[in-house]
Every structure is written in structure tokens, then in C-alpha cells.
Symmetry: C2
């Protein structure tokens, strides 16, 4: 029986429903994701009451979400509400009417909780152990400082992209005076917290402003990789996008590639928060996170079942989920991983390469995922493995790491690699491709060593003597085995890649 769960995030700018498919193995992935830009914060009157049209709008949208949840027979829906509802003095009325109309219950998060969930989403989907997260909402912005993956400080600022736009800007192109007064305000707000200065830390941004900033930059750069999560920008990239957008009229804004039309009027204050914050921190690096509050909420409930708050290893979790979804023979994949790592180390020891732990990790990722493309089609499976590895959600790795791991996993020879990498040429160097060729071959060899997928070979040792590389293989194998036969096919490539002939020695154990 298929199982689904959902999270509804009632924010001050938009309301969003995410439906997750939950596998029997405890992994999950998004199957629906819908957003309505209600701008709930604009329905707060001067007494901080959400006025009737705002309530009606919420009920209308949540009724739609109810239908979506019923259609999928979603078994658990977690609703959370943030700043606009938090501020509202009539929140009880709103929540009661929501419950009566839709059956949904909502937790109104404190600013602190809001900050926590954003942080939680980031540390569980990126390989970062220290930094700041900023979640820019419509009416509030949550800043977290974390180290050793643990939350150190957090603060919820009482402003967001929508409220700043309303408070500081008239319509149209912002004037210098408006920007100056906004900057002054933001600096005061941020610098009231001395823990903000930590210039070695990166700033990780969540929410629509951060995502749109990154999307616009990706379009400007003709960035070839189709992923937003974990996109890295330098501070001057943020400044470039900011200076570009702040000069545009509302009409010109509508034509900006990568910018959501609904966000055109609030993007300048949204990015300004990031720009000023980077200055206050003294940081040079901005990273966008496509995962945020709702994912933190979903993750908390998933991890609770395992008595965890943090995933032990973000990358490993992502690899496991893919092996499950694409029906990989996991015993085989893990054996290939062990063989690859052994070959990697022994080749290094014999001086045949000088790659380090970073490259070893890429091989290890590739080893576990090299078979995922088979589910699409066993013909040209390597091309499908490549396609999946660059397009699925694979947390914890940078885009470049994903690309390189995908190239290693799908490696069959130089020509095919060149064809696969062509659209991504701007992301890799000649040295990267040289590495892919050597480590791709190493993975081919490790796969050959378990071609029967039955772990016949228990150990390998590689020694270099008299200008020959000898690979000793122990196990229930001999020259007649499929392993031996498959490995023979790679000897020529070995000589080409590592400059020495390869000899195979089969030792039954």
C-alpha cells in the first residue's frame, strides 16, 4: 500500500503544500508541491487582525489542499503557520475556521521554532558543519548560527520581503534615499547581535528571495546544471544581481529570466537583506538552499521515528534513497564500493595516482549509484545513470561533485564521456576529466571484479614491480570466471590510463 504524508506551510507571503511519497524502506520524495501567493501579511490591519477577505482566501486555498490530500489518501498532514498568523490577534478564530472547513490543524511556530526548522532542513541536506542560515519570509526573517552542525544562536527578525517593500519603498524603481534608509535599518537590526560577525562562515539562504536571486544569477551565467539547491555564489555575484535588478522598472522586471513574476515587486528588499547580512557577517560566500521550513518539519517527523534529530551523513542518506527507488542490488553495490576503495588506495600506494579523500569519496558515491539507470532501460543504462545522477535530488554534494561522480559512475570510455560532459563543459577542467578517466576505469575494474554480483572475490591486492602492475584476486574465482573474463577487457585501457601493463593473478581461497 503506497503511503503519503504532507506538510502545509502557511507563510506570510505564500502558502504551500508538499506531498511526500514514503517508501517502505523509510526514504521519501516529493510527488506534489503547490504554492499560492496569498500575501497573508497584507491582510493584517492596523490592529493586527487578519481581515475577513484574508481568512476567506486562506480557506479557499486550504480547501484545494484538502482535495489534493484526499486524492492521494495522505495519512499524515502537518500544518505550520509563521509570522503573519503569529502576529494576528485573531489567530484562534482563523485556526478554528480552518479546522471546521478543512479538518487541518496548524501549529503556530514561534520565531525561534521557525528558525530551527530552516536550520534543520539545511544541515540535513547539505554537507556543511558551520555557517549561518537565513530564511527570508514575507513578514519575518530567521537567522541561525550553527557550528558542528548544532544550532548555536538564533533570532527571528520582525521583517520580511513583503513588509520591507511596504515599509520602505513607494512603487516603481527604488530611489537612492529609500535604499539608504533600508540599509541603515537592516544594519541596526543585524548589528544588535554581536554573534553575527564570523567572517569565515558561509551564509545559506532559504525562501523565495534567495531562490530567485540564485535563479537570476544562473540565467545570467548560462549555468548548465539544473539544480538550485546548494548553488554557490560569491558576495560580488549577489551585488551584481542586486545592482542589475534595482535599476529595473516594474515592466522590465517582468522580463527578467529566472525571476518569478509574483515576486518582482519584493525581490529588491529580499536580496538587500542578503547583501547587507553578508556585509555584517563579513562573509564572502552565499549558498542557496532549496530546502527550508517545510522540509525541516517533514524531516523532524521522519527522524523522530528513528530517534534522531540529525542525519549521521547527508550524502549517505541520499545514496540510500536512490538505491531504494531505483531497485539497485545493494549488496553488489556495496561490494563494488569496497573493491573500488581498495583499488584506489593501493594504486595510490604504488604511486599510480595522487588523488586524495575528496576523489575517493566521488568513487565511493559512483560505486553505489552506477546501476540506477538500469531501471530506465538496460540498453544505454550508463547514459541513464548519468542523467539521473545530475537530475535527481542528491543532497550533500556540490554540483561539481555530483557531475564528477555521475561521470565516473557512467564511464565506459573517453568518447562517451566527452559526449555526456559536453553540456557541462564550463564546470570542469581538463584535469577533472583526466581524473574521471582514471577513476572511471577503476570503477569499471571493481565492477568487473563482482560481475556475477555474488561477491566471489573477497580481497584484492595490487602491487607494482618491474614495470608491471599485478592485481592479485582472492576468492572463489579463476581465469574461467565471468569476473576474470570481464576484467581482461579493461587491461588495454589500464595501460593507457596508468602507463603500465596490468597482469591478473587469481588465487582461490
Amino acid at each position: 500500500m503506497d503511503k503519503y504524508s504532507a506538510v502545509i506551510d502557511m507563510g506570510s507571503n505564500s502558502v504551500r503544500l508538499v506531498i511526500y511519497y514514503e517508501t517502505a524502506e523509510g526514504t521519501s520524495y516529493e510527488v506534489d508541491n503547490i504554492k499560492n501567493t496569498i500575501r497573508l501579511s497584507t491582510f493584517l490591519n492596523e490592529h493586527n487582525e487578519i481581515i475577513e477577505p484574508g481568512i476567506k482566501e486562506v480557506l479557499r486555498v486550504l480547501t484545494q489542499y484538502r482535495q489534493l490530500c484526499e486524492a492521494r489518501k495522505v495519512s499524515s498532514v502537518i500544518g505550520v503557520a509563521t509570522a503573519a498568523v503569529r502576529k494576528a490577534i485573531n489567530k484562534e478564530e482563523l485556526l478554528t475556521r480552518i479546522y471546521e472547513t478543512t479538518g487541518f490543524t496548524f501549529r503556530v511556530l514561534s520565531g525561534e521554532e521557525e528558525a530551527y526548522y530552516g536550520y534543520l532542513a539545511v544541515v540535513n541536506t547539505m554537507s556543511v558543519s558551520e555557517g549561518f542560515t537565513i530564511d527570508i519570509g514575507g513578514a519575518s526573517s530567521e537567522l541561525v548560527k550553527f557550528a558542528d552542525r548544532k544550532l548555536v544562536e538564533s533570532y527571528s527578525f520582525p521583517f520580511g520581503a513583503v513588509t520591507l517593500a511596504k515599509q520602505f519603498f513607494r512603487n516603481g524603481i527604488p530611489t537612492d534615499a529609500e535604499l539608504v534608509s533600508l540599509e541603515k535599518y537592516l544594519k541596526e537590526q543585524f548589528l544588535a547581535h554581536p554573534w553575527i560577525k564570523e567572517k569565515k562562515y558561509s551564509l545559506i539562504g532559504m525562501g523565495g528571495s534567495a531562490r530567485n536571486l540564485a535563479k537570476v544569477h544562473q540565467k545570467m551565467m548560462r549555468y548548465p546544471f539544473a539544480s538550485l539547491h546548494n548553488y554557490h555564489m560569491k558576495k560580488y555575484h549577489v551585488d551584481t544581481v542586486f545592482h542589475y535588478l534595482k535599476e529595473l522598472s516594474p515592466t522590465q522586471m517582468q522580463g527578467v529570466e529566472g525571476l518569478s513574476k509574483e515576486r518582482a515587486d519584493i525581490i529588491v528588499p529580499g536580496i538587500y537583506i542578503i547583501k547587507v547580512l553578508l556585509e555584517c557577517i563579513g562573509s564572502e560566500r552565499f549558498i542557496v538552499s532549496n530546502k527550508g521550513l517545510r522540509d525541516g518539519v517533514h524531516m523532524e517527523s521522519r527522524l523522530k521515528a528513528k530517534n534522531l534529530t540529525l542525519l549521521d551523513d547527508v550524502v549517505e542518506e541520499g545514496i540510500y534513497a536512490l538505491m531504494v527507488n531505483y531497485k539497485v542490488n545493494q549488496v553488489h553495490a556495496r561490494h563494488v564500493d569496497n573493491l573500488s576503495c581498495t583499488l584506489f588506495e593501493q594504486l595510490a600506494k604504488e604511486g599510480l595516482h595522487s588523488y586524495g579523500p575528496e576523489e575517493k569519496r566521488l568513487v565511493s558515491v559512483a560505486a553505489r549509484l552506477h546501476d540506477i539507470g538500469r531501471m530506465i532501460n538496460i540498453g544505454e543504462w550508463n547514459q541513464h545513470t548519468f542523467y539521473l545522477m545530475v537530475n535527481v535530488f542528491l543532497p550533500g554534494l556540490t554540483h561539481k561533485q555530483r557531475l564528477l561522480a555521475a561521470l565516473i559512475a557512467s564511464y565506459k570510455g573517453s568518447k562517451r564521456m566527452q559526449r555526456l560532459v559536453a553540456p557541462y563543459e564550463s564546470m570542469v577542467s581538463e584535469a577533472d576529466l583526466q581524473m574521471v578517466e582514471q577513476l572511471g576505469l577503476l570503477l569499471l575494474m571493481a565492477r568487473a571484479l563482482d560481475r556475477t554480483e555474488s561477491q566471489q572475490i573477497s580481497d584484492v591486492k595490487l602491487l607494482c614491480s618491474d614495470g608491471v602492475v599485478v592485481l592479485y584476486c582472492w576468492g572463489r574465482v579463476n581465469e574461467q570466471s565471468l569476473e576474470a573474463q570481464t576484467l581482461e577487457e579493461h587491461k588495454k585501457k589500464f595501460r593507457k590510463q596508468f602507463g603500465l601493463p596490468l597482469r591478473l593473478e587469481w588465487k582461490s581461497k
Copy 2:
């Protein structure tokens, strides 16, 4: 618990193991496929005994297959053997030794059975109701004539690519005299069967010779579609490849793109069988089938469980398998299909398009499959749906039909469509793309009509009056619903594609 089954095909040229993953829903797909070119027929001595080195080679390979089956915990292995074993007077000894060493049992197929399984694979994976199938093996070739999808005549010829090469050619480039004598022999063989003349029928080829013929032709033509099954060639294309290859030396053969190195020495007689057979039939069309004997054997056992020999509808079966594998919400997909077909018919009735049943079927395929890309990533899911539809095994449709259905399923707008179709430009006309834009929009509308995936809209009617198209929607919906809201977004595109403004009328029922 994952379930696997396997088929081993011990042929006269090669032995092959295919492992299938069997889903709980009764569909299946290949997860491993391994071939060993043993050339068993060359181990038959003059007394038609398989000599000891041949038996050893078989045992060696089958021991590898045993390991592969054990590793996947394959629950049922069906072994079949063809001409070489059929001919062998010591077949009992061979089969006993196989059983003792590996535990595998083999059925030795008669020529008639061999022919039947090839035919069965073809009629269950292609939408053809009449034609010939030819399965060219190493030591025999099976011809079947079928009509109304039923087998009418069949014959197993006692020659194959390996035996003809041995019998008619010296090494190196074939001489004219050699070719003439081979042609004479083949014509005599074929024309002994008067039922062979049926020039309106297509010839569908199976086996390595047919596949390599098609691959070489695809490479020559820079064919962009990565699929061999159901590749169509004209008779003169077959002639072109034949004339190209027959002039090449063994060394030159090794460099031919698309040609398997192991087959270089037997490709000329293999293709010659097809060429001469086309002439004898009087047919102008050759189609390659990537499915053959082993798939027929596997299919028989799958269909037996359902008390069937033939699938009712090849295309429907393929669609169902994909909906299962990629976790599509089937109730939603079928509702979208119904709505699409209704819209299609009513637009036609109002004179807004003049497409026929062929295009309607494309929409229907697209409607069921439009969501398959979501499993890869919900971001850019439409690009993933397109990728899957052109790369997975989707039987029964021609390549062009698959491409068009994929474009309709993934349609979001002209620009994106242009980008997706770019590599396949040579396969489509301007009129095709015009059709995709109109029918893609129609599918977008049908999807909007079930955006909540909960079948709120039970009926639609489209009427054209006074230069306005009015779409009446009955059900539990109104202007406030997600369906209405989503459909509104397509009004502008409708005017552009169909030349008239669209008005929506919501009728609660």
C-alpha cells in the same frame, strides 16, 4: 520481497541470460542481460556430436549464469536450446552434465517452437497484425507468416549466419561467385514455400544480424532516437548497408560504427538472408525487433498466469507497466485521459482541429504518462517525463509516435518544446510541431481540469458560438477551485493556438 525470473537462450551462435524484475502488479523489466558468443554450432563435428571443448565452454558460461541467478535470488529460470543442440546426437549427455554442474534444465525447442516464440515476442511488442518474422540464428533461421496476429505458417530453415559463413565463404572479402552461389541457395530454400509471396507484408527481423544491420544503418543516418526495437527500414536501405559491408576487409569491418566486432565475420551472410528474403516476399519494408526468442519464452510464462497467449493491446500493456514503475496516480491519469479525449472530440466537432484517431491515440498515451517524470525530480518534471518517454521500453508505438507522445506529455510552452525536440529535429515536420502545440495545450487543459487529482469534474462540454469557445464544466467545482484557477492560466494560450477566445462556465452538479 523483490522477485526475479530469468530465461537462458542457448543458441548456436551465442548463449544469453536475461534476468527480469517482476513487479507485484504483474509487469516486468530487464535488470541484467549478458551474452557469450560461444558459437556452439562450430563445436559440432562431422557426426553431429558436440565435442568436449564445446561442452566445457557451455558449462563454464552456465556456471557464471548460475552465480548471477543466485545473486539475485531468481525464483524461476527457464532454459531453452535451439538448432545446435537440436542437431547434436549427444544432447542428452550435454543436458545431463549441465544439470549436474549448474542445476539448470533446458527444453530443446523444435524448429517450429523456435519460430513460434520469435513470432510471439514480436506480436506482443509491436502493433502489427500481419507480416513475416525471421529469426536468424547461428545455425537455423525461423520464418513465420502471421495474419490477424495469429501464426499462419512457419518453417525452420537449416541455415544461419554462422553455418552459411562457414559453408559459402572463404576468409576475407566475399567474391562475386561466392555471393551468387549463396543467393542461388537461399532462393531455392525460400521459394520452396509458396506462402512466402505476399508483397504487402512487412518483414520483421530478429537476432544479431537484424540488430546489427539496423544499428549500422542508424549510425550511417545519424539517427537521433536511441532505440532499435521497431526501427523501420526500406528495402533499399538494406541493400545500401549490404553493398557497403560486402566490400570491406576484415580489418575495415572492425571499424564499422554500430557493428559488433564479434559479428564482423558473419554479418554479410546474415544480412544477405534478409535481402534475399525481402526479394522473395516482394516486400519493401524491413523492421527490426529487439525482442526475440527469449522474450517470447518469458512472455508465454507471464501470460499463462493470466490465461492468455496474446496481449490484448501491446501499447496499453506498456503504458500500464510505466505507470506502475514510476508510481503514477492511475485514477488521476485515467481521468485526465478521459477529459483529454472528450476535449479532443468536441474541438473536432466544433471545427477547431481536424486531427484523427492517430493523433487522438497520441494524446491518450501522453495523458496516462505525463506524470512519470515526477519520480526523478518534481522540479523540471516535464523534461524528465520527456526523457523517460523517449528512452524507456515503450512497445507498440513507432519511434515517431513515441517522440510525438513524449512532446505532448511534456508540453508546457513553445520555447521548452523547441529545446526538447532539438536533437530529434530530423524526425518531425513543422506540421507535427503545430499538432504538438495544439494537443499539448489540450492536455494541459485536461490536467488543469483535474489539478486536485480528485475527479471533481465529471463532465465537460465545449461549444463554439459567436466567435467564442465556451467550455462548460460540470462537477463539484466553482470559480474558486484549483481546477478553475489552473485552467484560467491557459486561456491566453488557447486563443493563440485555436484562434478564438475561451470562456469557462462552472456548473455544479
